[in-house]
């Protein structure tokens, strides 16, 4: 395997995994042993090994969210040893590799914890609250017609770069998970500032921020107190500057929109 280290010794680990039957049941931490884990495995592959083991023993495998396993879909979402997506900075759980751990380690694995992200089962949580926030205004509703000519709408490179940075949010929810207040403001601010920076987003600029913030509050997420855990744990590096932009956009919209309710 390219990049693998032939001298890397297999590891034996103790896992403390959150097990919860369904949304309404009480969960608890259960201890498991996994043996001969290659340091080249990803964290999710290590869990695959655990699950195969559990299946062989006739036990229920651990449910966890995952899809692309390439760090771009935002599905994987594990709280590992007290950190969203584990100890490595700027990394999703699927891109975290076992070489970051040592033989004999004990690893605690929990789901994202926020009342707005109810646990479906074990480590899998329901993040549809994010979908409803996007549905409240995180889009541009224009009839696109035919393909426009390139550069028909002039956008300075600097602005398009900043909008793109905000657009890289994969919606994994690590910001909510890491935040002491379980606040979704980094997620909401990424979409609001992405669209506020671009001319296409200006038509619905005011209603977008009003509706998205209203939906965010309705979903029961906490309010940001500028702690900064979200940006520190964000796997794609969404910055706190976006939250300042969100606050500005919100205040400007509330002060000037025609919406009286």
């Amino acid at each position: 395997m390219a990049g693998s280290n032939p001298n890397a010794k297999p590891m034996n680990l103790t896992l403390k995994v959150w097990r919860q039957k369904n949304r309404n049941s009480e969960g608890k931490i259960v201890d498991y042993q996994v043996k001969d884990i290659s340091p080249d495995m990803s964290f999710l592959e290590m869990l695959d090994v655990l699950n195969e083991d559990l299946l062989h023993r006739g036990e229920e495998p651990v449910a966890f969210d995952h899809d692309c396993r390439e760090g771009i879909c935002g599905s994987c979402n594990l709280f590992i040893n007290g950190r969203a997506h584990g100890p490595e900075k700027g990394t999703t759980t699927c891109q975290l590799h076992m070489r970051k751990f040592s033989d004999g380690d004990t690893i605690t694995i929990e789901p994202w914890r926020a009342n707005s992200f109810p646990v479906n089962k074990d480590l899998s949580v329901d993040r549809s609250a994010f979908d409803r926030i996007i549905q409240a205004g995180g889009y541009i509703s224009i009839n696109t017609g035919g393909t426009p000519d390139a550069n028909e709408i002039p956008i300075p490179k600097e602005i398009s770069d900043r909008a793109f940075e905000a657009a890289t949010c994969i919606g994994c929810g690590a910001c909510v998970a890491a935040c002491k207040n379980a606040s979704a403001m980094l997620f909401v601010s990424a979409k609001v500032s992405q669209l506020a920076l671009l001319p296409q987003g200006h038509v619905e600029r005011k209603s977008r921020v009003e509706n998205m913030v209203a939906q965010m509050d309705k979903e029961g997420f906490g309010a940001c107190t500028n702690i900064g855990s979200c940006a520190a744990e964000c796997p794609v590096g969404i910055s706190l500057e976006n939250i300042a932009i969100l606050n500005r956009e919100f205040l400007a919209a509330k002060a000037t929109s025609n919406n009286l309710s």
């Binding site: 009342n115 997420f221 900064g228 500057e241």
Partner: protein
């Protein structure tokens, strides 16, 4: 006017109120600190008592006093509302949570720090403000209420000094987060100015709280029961007094 109440009961609206009142309270700290520096004047409290008489009787000051009360009221109420909302957003706690690896302690404990400051504030208001305004203080040589003597005797009680110093440490940490956080909440984040705001916030927190903490410590350790500087520090106090004349 439902849009106004909706704006200021939303999560961001409440944050904005906390930020604006917080910065207003910072301006109050500056005024309070500068005025209180007169405690260090080596004149048996004459200047300090003139100042406190002015603060207690001037109609402009008495009006601003109500604005200050509102500032404190809104700051505390809105912060409490945010705290209870935020606490109910996660009812099952993490088994293992290493938030110290991604954020500062003071940023996560603003409510605790604020509560310590509130307890101090109530004790402080009762001991000085309430007694000066509603109590009976002996007159000084100018026939002003002798608040200075009350300050000096209070600052010779060890538990009172300890409470003051603890409160100033709490206030310092509260400001270390709060000062820059207020600008962020108001959307005032810019790559040119934010680093300066952070430096000013750090300097502000440390200088203001150190200034307040020095007062009880000075009277407890370096003056006698009448507020006269002990002989070891008297030349230093007098030379500073002379230099500032």
């Amino acid at each position: 006017m439902s849009w106004i109440s909706k704006t200021f009961s939303s999560s961001i609206g409440r944050k904005i109120i906390v930020a604006i009142t917080g910065l207003f309270l910072c301006s109050f700290l500056v005024v309070h600190l500068i005025g209180n520096l007169q405690l260090f004047k080596h004149d048996d409290g004459v200047a300090f008592n003139i100042y406190s008489h002015f603060m207690g009787t001037n109609p402009v000051i008495r009006t601003v006093e109500w604005v200050l009360l509102l500032g404190f009221g809104f700051h505390i109420y809105e912060a409490w509302a945010l705290f209870s909302r935020n606490r109910s957003a996660r009812s099952v706690a993490y088994v293992s949570n290493h938030s110290e690896q991604n954020s500062r302690w003071q940023s996560r404990n603003m409510s605790l720090l604020g509560t310590i400051i509130l307890v101090f504030l109530l004790v402080h208001l009762y001991n000085f403000f309430y007694r000066a305004r509603f109590g009976e203080l002996d007159p000084d040589i100018n026939n002003n209420d002798d608040l200075y003597t009350l300050v000096v005797s209070s600052f010779h009680q060890w538990w009172y000094v300890a409470l003051y110093v603890l409160a100033q440490v709490a206030l310092c940490y509260h400001l270390l987060h709060g000062f820059k956080s207020a600008f962020q909440t108001l959307g005032l984040n810019h790559r040119k100015y934010t680093p300066a705001i952070e430096v000013i916030g750090y300097a502000f927190s440390i200088i203001v709280c150190l200034g307040f903490a020095i007062m009880p410590l000075y009277f407890f350790f370096f003056t006698n029961e009448q507020g006269e500087p002990l002989s070891a520090v008297a030349p230093l106090v007098d030379s500073i007094n002379l230099a500032l004349k």
